[in-house]
Amino acid sequence: MPFYEENPKDIKQADLVVAVPSYNEAESIGHTVEQCSKGIKQHFSYLSSVLINCDNHSTDKTRDTFFSAPVDVPRIYLSTQPGEIGKGSNLRNLFVKARDLQAKVVVVIEADIKNVSPHWIRNLAEPVLKGAGYVCPLYLRHKYEATLTSSLVYPLMRCLYGRRVRQPNVGDFGFTGRLLDSFLDSPLWTESVRMYGVDIWMTTVALNSRLPICQAVMGAPKIHRMKDPYAHLSVMFQQVVRTIFDQMSIYSNFWLQVKWSKPTSLFGTDSHEMETPLPVEVNVSQLHERFLQGFETYSGIWERVYDQTICPKIQEIRGLGLQHFSFPTQTWAKILFDTAKAYQSLGEGERVSLLDSLLPLYLGKVLSFVKKTERMSLQQAEEYIENECTVFEENKPYLAKIWE
């Protein structure tokens, strides 16, 4: 049960729950809640609905702003206990409450999105009403936005679970109430899941539920409050990758049976004009430097963990220099597969070092992607990523072999 709940209208049942997780979001939550409310009123006025703010006991009046926003949908405020932070903790409280409310559809929208609009609620909820089990948005993204997803999360998840979900850890979702039990009963509830790992954790649970997955075309980029993309890179990288590797162990009976991959259904392809994604600047020298720094600290780990063909290959890549830098996708796929396998047999401290040692290689892969795609359009870069995914799928037998 949540530590704290305010339910002023004493709502006991809701078909549609729209939830906004938060931690100190007083500045932005009012706008987000207003847009969500408009979405509910415009598109789902025939359903019983509620807006839930699931909060980390914010100290900046997030709760007050949530309740004072001028909306006419009933509201419930949930909070973790003081000091317990993390989006995952908030969502766990949401799952419990949504199950109590017998929700048929749940939509999650992050609190700090500047350009959230009412049709986003429709795009994430309507596919569920039409039979989808889980809906991931497809935001318009610059080719260098969310490189962790493009270079690691998407190809690996697609190769493992066989479904082409392009933005599986984007942070906003729609899902059927039938998944609430699966979320609450999942055996994995780690520190990483309580934090940044929760988004990929939810998608993985959904992929393993066998329910139909839909991708909703949002027609717009997702514009957050300004953040430094490298400020939390190491922590986020650890938590996301750790969550994927932890779930690989739980769901190995599923993914070992998967061969190649299949598309999802789509929603929202006709509804709106496409906007243009915001430009993203990449510092290639910094990426190269961080890749090279990895050799000083992590060569020993790499030699212990990777297949004997990999380390000479990494040395070869190192020797290419920035101008001719290229990181073959097959090498990258094998590195991830070897790391995933090694992770399973290590203790906690060694796991941290292992994932730290993967980070410079990931930055090298990003650098290679940037260099290969710098003259490409967004669509061409997407095709390049699709081809990389095929390389992952072609090499999956190697993963199956070392796993078993």
């Binding site: 066989g162 139909p212 599923f254 049976q257 998967v258 190649w260 299949k262 259904s265 789509l266 392809t269």
Partner: protein
Amino acid sequence: MSRILVVDDEEHIRLLYSEELKEAGYEVITADSGYKLLERIEEEKPDLVVLDIKMVDYNGLDLLQDIRNRFYDLPVILSTAYDTFKEDMKSIAADFYVVKSFDLTELKKKIAMALETRLPT
């Protein structure tokens, strides 16, 4: 034997695909338009659909969305004369695409891959 439904409004393409795919060991059925395509799929239960994108009366990409919504896991391969369709996001609901050619090597390869794709049910 896997059953393949070829949907194309050009007769010579239907003939070419039928002949070559039959030779490759598939059972082939054809449709010359998207008219009542979903009902046809329901009745004939193909294992895979090869779908032309540009037909005189039907947009293959719209038909693809309908197929995906009703037959979630039915493999669909888009067949097209030009690859400009990739600018349309609807195309990502297809398993694969091929550019039309008299050499069906690529099509046969994609059909084999689509048919051997395996997800636990």
